[in-house]
Amino acid sequence: MTDPQKPIPAITPQLAPFLEGAKRQELIIQKCGECGTYRFPPRDLCSACLSNKSAWAKVSGKGIVFSFTIMHQVYHPGFAAEVPYAVVLVQLDEGPRITSNLVGVSPRNIRIGMPVTAVFEEVSDEVTLPKFAPT
């Protein structure tokens, strides 16, 4: 369990399939029912073909670090003990980019292009968050 003071995302209708998937240790994102393009964060319509047909689909959980930043400023007390910490943008093999954290690597050793794989971290009884670890 991580520091319980960190903000925990609400299980909104939009995010529910993603968070429920994470609870089952699966990375689940939207996939267009028309053209098959994956997308994240959730959106009503596909930006590639504008179809409103979509389903949630399990993805490989594999990707690369597309970019990252090391946060030094405390914006929320839940992160006060962790600064400086890194936030990464992972490009999934399926295409979409997802904001997350890396586990098992110090911020100084993060590199753009580093291959990573999804791991799952339980942050409350209800919510598990996908994070990533170096592959």
Binding site: Q5, K6, P7, I8, P9, A10, L15, P41, F66, S67, F68, T69, I70, M71, H72, Q73, Y75, H76, P77, F79, E82, P84, Y85, V87, L89, R97, T99, S100, N101, I112, G113, V123, L129, K131
Partner: protein, 390 residues
């Protein structure tokens, strides 16, 4: 190319900037318009258009222009709109005014920005935020990004800069050069919040990190203040108090997609259009006033306007050519990093000051043509003005 409206900026009003606590955003906007009218030698009744870019403190500000009209007691306007394209709005408002004037739909338009996000410091014994109910105090921290500790635009922009560094070899020394040279300009600007604070490269590197690769001095200021310009036909402007500053070219560019992928702003599209309309090239520009929410944005926009090749913004400015006395003066008032942050109105106002020859200690010799940019979101929206005094 065929549309070359003969439009000019005839008035400029700048309120006190920075820690101004004695009035709110509406009061600051009213004062900016009053100052701009005085500057142009006009009365309120001479205005028939009002465009407002509401800052953060206007909240959603949807009816801001009407609110401002009432506060100014303006009657029978023929043009009114609240506009928001982020940092691209200032130049876009002036473009919209020029289009309306060119089409005969209005003749004299005030374009206004104001904001008052800074609050007065609390007395020492007042309770700080620590004990207050964190649920309400951190209501902004909803959603997934917050769960990962991703807060604010600094972090997202920093990720774009990180990729620029990775792909092109841009360094913190390059970013620092922007911060240091702009501070040199600010030290010559009596309106600059940092006029009395020189900045060395060593101090830049020592300044605290906000979100790597951004130090504190890579990020723009926050200011309370108001700023207005009066746009009218060049013909009318000739009978007003100030030497007219003509609009030679203008354009917008909103590239869409993911800037993290392209590392490119809308300046490519907006600049091409504006240069074509003006019949000018980068070598014809005497002063460059770029929207600088971050040091990094200056490098990207110099690349995207074609002052140097893509990816070479860092090495391009490393020799100090953008500093006072340099071959390509950039952000000659200190910019939003070091003078004051009125969204895109800061670069607009500095171009007007330079083209009028009112720059005092920071005046650039023979400044006849200025390039002004506005850049909103994360390289998301962009607008360009090319202004001239001849």
């Amino acid at each position: 190319m065929s549309f070359t409206p003969n439009i000019a900026v005839a008035g400029l009003g700048i309120t006190n900037q920075g820690k101004v606590y004695d009035r709110n955003q509406v009061g600051l906007a009213v004062e900016a318009v009053r100052l701009a009218l005085e500057d142009a030698g006009l009365e309120r009744s001479d205005l028939d258009g009002l465009l407002l870019n509401p800052g953060l403190s206007w909240n959603d500000g949807g009816m801001g222009a009407f609110q401002l009209q009432q506060a100014l007691n303006l009657r029978d306007l023929r043009l009114s709109a609240t506009m928001n394209a982020g940092g691209a709005t200032a130049c876009a408002m002036i473009q919209h005014a020029a289009e309306a004037i060119g089409a005969g739909l209005a003749h004299t338009v005030a374009c206004v920005f104001s904001d008052a996000p800074l609050k007065p410091p609390k007395p020492k014994d007042a309770k700080d935020g620590k004990g207050s109910g964190s649920a309400s105090a951190y209501a902004f921290a909803g959603g997934l990004d917050a769960a990962y500790g991703m807060f604010g635009i600094n972090a997202r922009y920093a990720m774009v800069a990180q990729r620029h560094m990775h792909l092109y070899g841009t360094t913190n020394e390059h970013l620092g050069t922007v911060a240091v040279t702009q501070r040199q300009w600010a030290n010559r600007n009596p309106r600059a919040q940092f006029q009395d604070a020189p900045l060395t490269m060593e101090e830049y590197h020592r300044s605290r990190w906000v979100a790597e690769p951004f130090h504190l001095f890579d990020c723009c200021l926050v200011s309370n203040g108001g700023l207005a310009v009066i746009v009218t036909s060049a013909e009318r402007a000739r009978n007003m108090s100030q030497p007219p500053v003509r609009i030679l070219g203008m354009g917008q560019g909103h590239p869409g997609g993911d800037p993290m992928e392209t590392l490119t702003s809308g300046a490519v599209l907006a600049g091409t259009q504006a240069f074509r309309m003006a019949g000018l090239e980068t070598k014809d520009i005497d002063v460059v006033e770029l929207y600088d929410c971050y040091t990094f944005t200056v490098l990207v926009c110099l690349e995207d306007y074609g002052f140097c090749k893509k990816g070479e913004g860092g090495p391009f400015i490393a020799d100090g050519k953008t500093a006072p006395g340099g071959a390509l003066p950039v952000n000659t008032g200190g910019g939003q990093l070091s003078s004051f942050y009125m969204w895109g109105m800061t670069p607009v106002s500095e171009a007007i000051i330079q083209l009028r020859g009112e720059g005092g200690e920071r005046q650039v010799d023979d400044a006849h043509v200025a390039l002004v940019s506005g850049n909103g979101g994360i390289l998301s929206t962009h607008s360009t003005l090319i202004l001239g005094n001849q």
